[in-house]
């Protein structure tokens, strides 16, 4: 594949290096002269100097034949514009944009710049996994499909421990898909009895998290009274 990477900061430089090691053809574009000269000592002809939001710089890098453009500069507007131009003007098949400020992700979505990657969001997700608030962890958001998959640990005060799965009144728009017990996962049947320490995985429509927290959460939150 021919891949253009814009921005030779830590992310861009390492990304370009990894892609070259995987035998892709790569051009890295950097607008800062000093940074360009530093990286050029290692990447030589695989880095090009210029402002990639200028169309002629992209054309000089051969964007017409690029299979993928990855914009990872520290500036969200630049990343959005470069990816938008790459896809809509030069018909590049695959784009990936870096989101620096997570609050700007809505703008990336609005302009159709997808997929976008935000390090802050990723770290927040990891944090959420390590320190689950209310015990409910987002494992996967399928934005296009409007579904999400969550994980929840059943504490000793959970209202569902000791109950059969078949007796649970799962909220509409949610489905229990798997139980992790003692390091092993299985698909529960109606006769499976939930135990303390079980981690349950559920697929649900967005917005059903609260209902699940009530059902699987502590008894005091109404866990004993399903729905």
């Amino acid at each position: 594949m021919y891949i253009i990477v814009v921005g030779a900061g830590k992310v861009g430089w390492n990304l370009a290096r990894e892609l070259l090691e995987k035998d892709h053809e790569v051009t890295l574009i950097e607008a800062d002269r000093r940074r360009y000269l530093t990286v050029e000592q290692e990447l030589e002809h695989n880095i090009s100097y210029g402002d990639a939001s200028e169309l002629w710089v992209l054309e000089r890098a051969g964007i017409q034949r690029a299979d993928m453009v990855i914009a990872v500069t520290g500036d969200d507007e630049d990343n959005m514009l470069i990816c938008q131009v790459a896809r809509e003007k030069y018909l590049v098949a695959q784009i990936i944009a870096r989101v620096n400020n997570p609050r700007n992700r809505q703008h990336f979505d609005l302009l159709g710049v997808k997929p976008s990657v935000s390090a802050t969001d990723l770290i927040l997700r990891l944090l959420e996994h390590e320190v689950p608030e209310y015990g409910l962890v987002h494992l996967l958001d399928l934005q296009e499909e409007q579904l999400e998959i969550i994980e929840m640990l059943l504490g000793k005060d959970s209202g569902v421990t000791g109950r059969r799965v078949g007796d649970l009144q799962m909220p509409d728009g949610s489905l229990l898909i798997s139980v992790l017990r003692a390091g092993k996962g299985f698909v529960p049947s109606a006769d499976t009895v939930l135990e303390e320490g079980d981690e349950i995985l559920a697929v649900l429509d967005p917005g059903k998290e609260e209902d699940l927290k009530i059902l699987f959460g502590p008894k005091s939150n109404g866990g004993t009274v399903a729905n």
Binding site: D76, E77, R103, Q106, L110
Partner: protein
């Protein structure tokens, strides 16, 4: 625009910019009916505080081409402002986005046209430019 009787709201990251608005005015910007909001153009809260939801016209004229192009598209698509204009210094970007349906104003293009006119005018009077020399011949 304020003097023509329009309601004008300015959004700028720098609170000091407010003073620049009042240069040459006999009253304060607010007394004349103007609005001033401090904030970044990419922040939806700032745009909304500046009144984008009821705007008839939105002009993006920061000193960054890409910022203007992105904010103008946000005004167009998210807030559906009827008239949106973006200042874009780079002629190539201005031209392409214009063709995509974004109203762009390119000061560089305007300056080039004016300079060319000035050169032609000077040339027409035959005062030493190459084109003037040719015409004289």
């Amino acid at each position: 625009m304020l003097h023509e009787g329009h309601d004008v709201s300015c959004l700028d990251e720098d609170p000091e910019s407010h003073a620049r608005l009042e240069v040459g005015l006999e009253k304060s910007w607010e007394d004349l009916g103007g609005q001033f909001t401090v904030g970044a153009g990419l922040e939806t809260e700032a745009l909304e505080a500046a009144g984008i939801e009821r705007a008839d016209v939105f002009i993006a004229s920061t000193d960054g081409d890409n910022t203007n192009i992105i904010i103008a598209q946000i005004a167009q698509r998210r807030y559906e402002v009827p008239t949106v204009i973006a200042r874009v210094l780079d002629p190539l970007r201005a031209e392409w986005y214009q063709r995509q349906g974004l109203n762009t104003v390119c000061p560089t293009r305007v300056a080039i046209d004016m300079l060319e006119d000035a050169v032609r005018e000077a040339g027409g009077r035959g005062n030493g430019t190459p084109s003037g020399a040719t015409e004289a011949a």
